[in-house]
Amino acid sequence: MAGNSGVVGVLVAWLSVGRVSVLSAMEDSITFLHSSDWQLGMMRRFLGPDGQARWAQARLDAVMRIGDVAKQTGAAFVVVTGDVFEHNQVERQTILRACEALKRIEVPVVLLPGNHDALEPGSLWTSAQWTGHAPSHVMVVTDSKPIEILPGLEIVGAPWRSRRPLADPAAPGYAELPPAPEGTKRILLAHGQLTSLSGGMSDVPTIDQVALEAAVADGRLHYVGLGDRHSTTEVTERIWFSGTQEVTAPEETHPGNVLKVTLGADAIEVEPVRVGAWHMVEHHAELYDEESLAALEDWFAELPEKERTYVRLAADGSLPLPLLSRLDAMVDAQNEVFASVERWAKFWTVRPAPDAADLDALQLSGPARAAMEELRQALAGGDEGAGAALTLMHRLARDAG
């Protein structure tokens, strides 16, 4: 990007004037924040329109909280290692709101294009929508030339130029680099899965962890900030995935953090600071009687911050018809309370188990009783449709009675 040196100049000037204390601290250590995978513009179908809107706002709120953390920790700048946006073709509103959120971070912000927002043709980063609205203290890494963001502190980045890189996506950032000059600290910003963590499942080239560690060991790099993994992960003392600022899936183990990195002359300190507010929970329930149903009710009751929690619920077992109705009612009600409660269709195998007492209690006779009995037998024979019909008939009979 042609404007990069200009932006760097602005940043350095800004740091020199506005953050004199930080500059003076450079002699010993420097603190900055590391975040990644904001994926602004992301949608989650299980949330529903209302939940989706609140969750999208939550993700921006978390960005703004990073600004708060920067202020609190005295961080000199913030780096975001990839996937700031969900896609290069996000709507204008998302870009403008992101720019507004970035303005709430009062220190310089360095953004690295990742696989979601790669610096490919038609990239968001080169669009007028971005360049026209991006705050002046925000810089996008467009090549791998070292940026001296502060005297004695270099940032090198490996931006994604395509969503399908042909080789180690981090390598362009450091492979050709000589060791850092004496007294200069160097931070690598990269995005991608580590060979060691991908389990060989990645369909794009992975980052060579061994080479990366070697670069750290031989003094070419002093901190490696990685993105792409949504859970905060320490690879080595100086190699970290910050994880997403706000949870995106129940599978994520430690989402919702920003890393506070303090780089000293020889030491480094990395500390996750929580900025996320949402929870995504997966729960599996065994349901076979009133007690187990009550246990589920208790489980729901105990969850905190329900309005910001998505529950993916798996269940199996079988329930008498009244309990089945109660389960349906419970899940429906919780869905209103929580951000979303989703029956996990793949793992939802609760069957109605009508017993004679259920049917007797309805005091049905004649054809109604015979019809219900037929449905009960069909269900016993494995007819799933009969279960739903039986449950419905049970409810109608109960209400009619």
Partner: protein, 925 residues
């Protein structure tokens, strides 16, 4: 419930009447109109329904008109095992009294409102209103088929018998199930409401999502394309740069070799000029040689052709002479032939004349015969004209004769026949009228001999002075006489017409006429044979004209214009002949004047032979002529050919002369330019010049080859072409990349990924909503169908007891093929008889009424054993049945009494005379 008695006082038209009813069996209450049969039913209803102080109009209506009296009803009945006596009086002295005897014999009584309330309570408790209404058939309602589904006693009975509980309690469930089903499905099973709408929303959302996805796919494709284009462009730009360097090297090398090439081109141009000059000299030499040879050849040919021309002209002249000789000979022979042809014509004229003369002679003989024959025909015709008798006339005469004989015989038989015989000498005179002596014999006036007379009038036999005898025929005599006279007169008239004296003469005359007629026919046959070839006279006239023969007299009177030949043959004896000759009036030929001279030298045979000879001579002459013509033609043809040959020889000779002259002229012209002896020298000089310049060219080419001059230029051209191509490719790539990037920039502004994600999000939400709805809809349908099926089965089973009863009763009326089907309300919907199944609405009035009665009796039978049984009451029925059906229905009504109380009110007791064991109660006015 059983009714025991009803007592009415001051109730409509009834002053005071009590009717007792047997507790079991069929009772027929008979009464004329207006005696109060229907009042019994009305009274029973009112006594339970309205309290004694009721102001209802129905109460006012039952008070007898114009009487200030109190209507009163007393009813005795068994209700729920209790014996009730219940009396009520309205309007005046109002009172209600109820006395009850319990099954255990305990007695209780109430009065006033309490009595009414207690009675009402007991009635409501023990009598099902639906059943009561069903089994009590008011006047005029007998056709209405009962719909007893809500009659509790019936339901109890049916349930008990069928073992199928009536699902009355589950009706709310049925309604709820149906309501739930109709939320999602139409009755026809098509999705409806929210469910149907959600399916549409899914389809719409799918379309939107697919479109958004497609748009995004296009963006991704554009990104790939742009990446590829950028790579290609970079690669191509590199290659182009490299290539342009090598182009520059080639350009320098070429500049060095261009000088050698310029020199080579100059030598090459000079060599071309020398070669052209040499070719020019060589052409001049060859041309000169050709001209010399041509002049020599043409000179020789010219001499040869001149000689041939002279020879040919000689031959042609000789041939012309030969032609002239042949044509002279031909002229002679033509003349000879004309002479011979004249001879033949002369001989032919003579033969013709002789032949005409011979024919004329023959025709004259024939004409003479013809005249004779025509005379005979005329004579015979005259004879036949005079004869007036023919076969018909003779037959008429014979008939007339027979009638005369017959009349005479009749007269003889019908009148006195008087024989007068002279016996003395006295004169005996005979006179009188109507006398007949027979067969035309005249009656003598005086008797001379014996005479027999027929007397049709009066006969007077007078012996003068002595005696006078008068005989009168009398009777029919006058008539018989007149008939005879008429027959005789008729015969005479016929004879007169035939101009004969009697029948025999007529017969003779007829025979003669036949003979003349035969002769006439013979003569006409002869005439026809003579004129078969036309009338000879015409031919004679023609031949005379040809031969120049004419009338000898030659003198023709000027004042007598009648033409000759008009003289007629004698006709005096041949009447009627004139008409034959009248045909000749226009014929002017006069035979009488015809003079036929003798023929000179007239031997026809000799003449014919002379003709044959002359013709033979002519044939010879014609053959000679033919030969001479052939010879002349041959000579002319040979002469033509020779003349043509001579002309050609002359033409060829003249042509050769011209060509020779031209060749000589060309040679002279060429020599004027360059003399013969200089031609070869010039050519040799040019050859030497060419050789010299070619040596120079070889040297300079070797130099160019050594320097690689030609390859340098080619290589530079090739390299420039490649550079141009590469630049073109690079421009295309650059344009494509710009276009693609432009598109991508636009799509970035459109937020297509967000759109796609939003669309997919909405689709997922709508789909989840729809799947939920579908699960509920399927469940609702499953429940609806399952319950419906079970209800239908139950309905069938449930209606069975009533159906069986109706069919059992109906078969006693209609026979074993009778079947019915009931609907949900347990009403009869269809009936089958003898295999024909019909809706009840389609049945006849009588059949509908019978079915309504049978159904009520079946219901009564079903409920008879239960507590809730009520009497069956028919206020007039069976008004639509014929006598046969009345018998069967009567038997049925009688049997119905075996199980309960059947009460029939009627003014037509004869309808019920077949009801066995019925109690008849007569209501008197």
């Amino acid at each position: 419930m059983r009714l025991h008695s009803l007592t009415l006082r001051n109730f409509r038209g009834v002053k005071d009447r009590s009717v007792s009813l047997p507790a079991i069996g069929t009772t027929v209450v008979v009464g004329d109109n207006e005696v109060g049969k229907s009042s019994l039913v009305e009274a029973f209803a009112l006594v339970f329904e309205l309290p004694d102080d009721s102001k209802a109009k129905r109460i006012a209506d039952i008070q007898p008109v114009g009487q200030d009296v109190a209507p009163e009803v007393t009813v005795e009945l068994t209700l729920g095992g209790r014996e009730l006596t219940y009396t009520k009086r309205w309007l005046k002295n109002r009172a209600t009294e109820l006395a009850i005897v319990d099954p255990d014999g305990r007695r209780q009584s109430w009065t006033g409102r309490e009595a009414h309330n207690e009675a009402e309570r007991l009635f409501a408790e023990n009598v099902d209103p639906v059943l009561w209404q069903t089994l009590m058939v008011s006047q005029g309602q007998s056709l209405v088929l009962p719909t007893p589904a809500d009659a509790e006693p019936l339901i109890t009975a049916v349930t008990a018998e069928s073992g199928t509980p009536v699902d009355g309690a589950s009706m709310p469930l049925v309604t709820a199930v149906e309501h739930e089903y109709l939320r999602y499905w139409t009755r026809g099973g098509r999705p409806t409401g929210e469910f149907a709408k959600s399916a549409q929303w899914v389809a719409t959302a799918e379309l939107t999502a697919a479109q958004a996805l497609k748009a995004m796919d296009e963006v991704v494709a554009d990104i790939r394309r742009a990446e590829r284009l950028a790579l290609d462009l970079e690669d191509l730009s590199g290659r182009l740069g490299e290539h342009l360097k090598s182009v520059e090297e080639l350009r320098i090398r070429k500049k060095d070799t261009d000088e050698i090439l310029l020199r080579r081109d100059s030598v090459r141009a000079r060599a071309e000029t020398a070669r052209a000059r040499l070719e020019n000299h060589t052409r001049t030499r060859v041309e000169r040689e050709r001209l010399l040879a041509e002049v020599a050849r043409f000179t020789e040919a010219d001499a040869e052709l001149a000689k041939r021309r002279t020879d040919a002209e000689t031959v042609a002249r000789k041939a012309a002479e030969t032609v002239r000789a042949a044509e002279a000979a031909l002229a002679e022979i033509v003349e000879l032939k004309e002479e011979r042809r004249g001879d033949v014509h002369e001989a032919e004229r003579l033969v013709s004349k002789l032949a005409d003369r011979a024919e004329l002679d023959r025709l004259l003989v024939q004409q003479s015969e013809l005249v004779d024959v025509r005379a005979r025909i005329a004579a015979a015709g005259m004879v036949l004209d005079g004869v007036k008798v023919d076969d018909a006339v003779v037959a008429a005469l014979e008939d007339a004769r027979a009638k005369v004989v017959e009349a005479r015989a009749a007269l003889a038989a019908g009148v006195p026949e008087v024989s007068v015989r002279r016996v003395g000498a006295e004169v005996v005179l005979l006179s009188g009228t109507g006398l007949d002596a027979g067969a035309g014999v005249k009656v003598p006036g005086e008797l001379e001999e014996d005479v027999q007379l027929l007397v049709s009038g009066e006969l007077v036999v007078d012996v003068p002075g002595q005696v006078e005898v008068r005989v009168h025929a009398g009777g029919e005599a006058a008539t018989l006489r007149s008939r005879l006279d008429e027959a005789v007169r008729l015969e005479k008239d016929l004879l007169k017409q035939a101009r004969v004296k009697d029948l025999a003469a007529a017969r003779e005359l007829l025979r003669k006429a036949d003979m003349v007629s035969a002769e006439l026919q013979e003569a006409r046959r002869t005439e026809r044979s003579l004129t078969a070839n036309g009338d000879p006279s015409e031919r004679i006239a023609l031949l005379c004209a040809r031969l120049g023969i004419s009338a000898a007299t030659g003198e023709v009177e000027e004042d007598e214009p009648k033409p000759s030949g008009k003289q007629l043959p004698p006709v005096e004896d041949v009447p009627g002949q004139m008409s034959l000759f009248e045909e000749f009036e226009e014929d002017t030929f006069d035979f009488s004047d015809l003079v036929v001279p003798a023929m000179e030298g007239g031997d026809l045979g000799a003449a014919e032979r002379a003709l044959e000879d002359a013709r033979a001579e002519l044939a010879v002459a014609e053959r000679l002529l033919s030969d001479a013509e052939f010879a002349a033609a041959q000579a002319r043809k040979a002469a033509d050919e020779d003349r043509s040959e001579a002309q050609q020889a002359r033409a060829r000779s003249e042509l050769a002369e011209e060509r020779l002259a031209a060749a000589v002229e060309a040679l002279v012209a060429a020599r004027a330019v360059l003399a013969d002896e200089e031609v070869e020298g010039e050519e040799e000089k040019a050859t030497a010049e060419v050789e010299a310049v070619l040596d120079e060219l070889t040297a300079v080419q070797a130099q160019a080859h050594e320097a690689g001059a030609d390859e340098a230029a080619g290589a530079l051209n090739d390299a420039l072409a490649v550079a141009t191509r590469l630049q073109g490719e690079r421009d295309v790539l650059r344009d494509s990349l710009r276009t693609t990037e432009g598109r991508l920039e636009q799509s970035g502004r459109d937020g297509l990924a967000t759109r796609r994600d939003t669309a997919e999000l909405e689709l997922a939400a709508i789909r989840a909503e729809h799947e939920g709805l579908k699960r509920r809809a399927d469940a609702a349908r499953r429940v609806y169908e399952t319950l419906g099926r079970h209800r239908a089965e139950a309905q069938t089973k449930y209606s069975e007891p009533l159906q069986t009863r109706i069919e059992s009763l109906g078969r006693s009326v209609y026979g074993p093929s009778f079947k019915v089907w009931l609907d949900d309300d347990l009403a009869v919907a269809e009936r089958e008889l003898d295999g024909a199944r019909l809706r009840v609405e389609s049945l006849s009035t009588g059949a509908q009424e019978q079915l309504a009665i049978i159904t009520r009796l079946a219901i009564s039978h079903l409920v008879s054993t239960g507590e809730g049984s009520v009497p069956v009451i028919f206020d007039d029925a069976l008004g639509w049945s014929d006598k046969g059906r009345l018998r069967d229905m009567g038997a049925l009504l009688g049997r119905a009494g075996d199980h309960g109380q059947v009460i029939i009110l009627t003014c037509m007791p004869e309808r019920y005379e077949y009801v066995p064991r019925a109690t008849f109660i007569k209501l008197e006015a």
